[in-house]
Symmetry: C2
Subunit: 324 residues, 2 copies
Amino acid sequence: MEKPYVVGIDIGGQTAKIGLVDARGNVLVQTAIKSNDTDDYKKFIKNLSDAVTALVSKSYSMKDVRGIGIGAPNANYYKGTIEGAVNLTWGGQQEIPFSEYMSKTIGLPVKLTNDANAAALGEMTYGVARGMKDFIMITLGTGVGSGIIVNGNLLYGHDSNAGELGHVTMVRQNGRLCGCGKAGCLEAYCSATGVARTAREMLETTEKKSILRNIPAETITSKDVFEAAVEGDALAKDIFEFTGNMLGAALADFVVFSSPEAIVLFGGLTRSGDLLMKPVVESLNRNVMPRWKNKIKVLFSQLKESDAAILGASALAWELGSEG
Amino acid sequence: MEKPYVVGIDIGGQTAKIGLVDARGNVLVQTAIKSNDTDDYKKFIKNLSDAVTALVSKSYSMKDVRGIGIGAPNANYYKGTIEGAVNLTWGGQQEIPFSEYMSKTIGLPVKLTNDANAAALGEMTYGVARGMKDFIMITLGTGVGSGIIVNGNLLYGHDSNAGELGHVTMVRQNGRLCGCGKAGCLEAYCSATGVARTAREMLETTEKKSILRNIPAETITSKDVFEAAVEGDALAKDIFEFTGNMLGAALADFVVFSSPEAIVLFGGLTRSGDLLMKPVVESLNRNVMPRWKNKIKVLFSQLKESDAAILGASALAWELGSEG
């Protein structure tokens, strides 16, 4: 009989979330451990393996676990490595053989991918993209990430780094500096932090009244902008209009690349609902090659945000069916 | 024994070129027929089939032909149809079941794709991209076309229309009108006709001396610009600089999408050699996410231009191995 469960692990800068997941996408049990209390990756992997075993063994059996899927920053899917992840205390090394070492430690097959790719797999396996073979996942959080599904598979490209759509250039002259080192990137405008930057810019360059003026400019967050917009604040609405316009224009360029059935939006900013969706869809259809006008679905993720990272990572482990 | 030959057909608005090709990419014999002397697609397919049979049978045997690959405008790979090809006299109909009808007529399996996709397959099968699993082909002719190879396969997307990279938006404000109906497309700047438009614009907006001023503006072609640049004309060099800059910036955005090993440039404009290549490579590395700086090969196609269309189409037919 096929083993009925997989483990999904989402490794972040401070914690690693662990969940046991069934084929329908139920997170049966979950826990978390610190990911920043050691600078030795072997120590971290030992802690992680112990936590997985403890979590599963409490009410289930490790014998029923098919494998482990992990979403992590700077993950190389091809090699199973984490490469130069400066935000992880144990990640500085050039090439950490994470999959191999964890697999040896815990005695199960392990697969690794980056967080946005994991989100795309999660959406395809359990979410709004079930049954789709071609779609693009855009994660709108602190940064803008993406996972591209082509013919039912993640697009990894030559070096496993494909799908960095947050770093297409949207503003070619005097663009905002991006964390990646270049300027004008989509991420510098359409991430949560990008929205806050837009707010600060607009407050400075316009005279418009706004309740956002009651907040010290340097502390404004995208959540503040959202709350102001909900209350009908005109400037806050302008900020969403600007953000949605730019995101829609970027999506239009993505469409001519891979001709997806749908684009799925995920992450904190999507809580803004129609405030974001409306200008995105309008801008997409205004900017896209006419052949695709009104043909691309734009959808919000349906995965519960608290479970999504674990679910996405776990989706990777179903591929391990034949090996596990 | 495996059948040793395939037939490649390139259907254009005026002629259809036909060639018999071996596994090493030699075009053994070739011919061409008119493609615009009938408005009945069945008549055209009959003519085409007769021409294939006559060509092959002169010195070879139809029994040794594995199948037929066709490159055609508006081809749908999934359905084997040609859809709304207004530039073909017999192409107006919404969905011409081209593969099916031709296969019935000639008694061989037939596969269809668009010209730029065929070029990418040709390059992977016989050309500079042999052995590569992830690369992007950009065709710089009257328009700008593209074929994207991902993990060894053409990227077709949900509707078989993926890879229209000539229609990403490069100029977001007051962009040139493009043949596709929208404005600011890469194709409106970096095609052969785009280069001629740039020449006319620059002649009008600058006072620079140029031998191009001896040519009536409306008749200037990209070839004129090339020849002037070769003679050291400063304005002509500016035009190539502008074109290469923009193309390189576009390639930088393509790289973050599919992380290719290489980008292969093909078509008339590539005859300009270093005049084009130098600014393209500089601009790519200036505009790309730092992770990929100086890591992406930019190559010119190695296929003989007179054979390339036939070779590209023929490459499609090797996939027919198991069915033929």
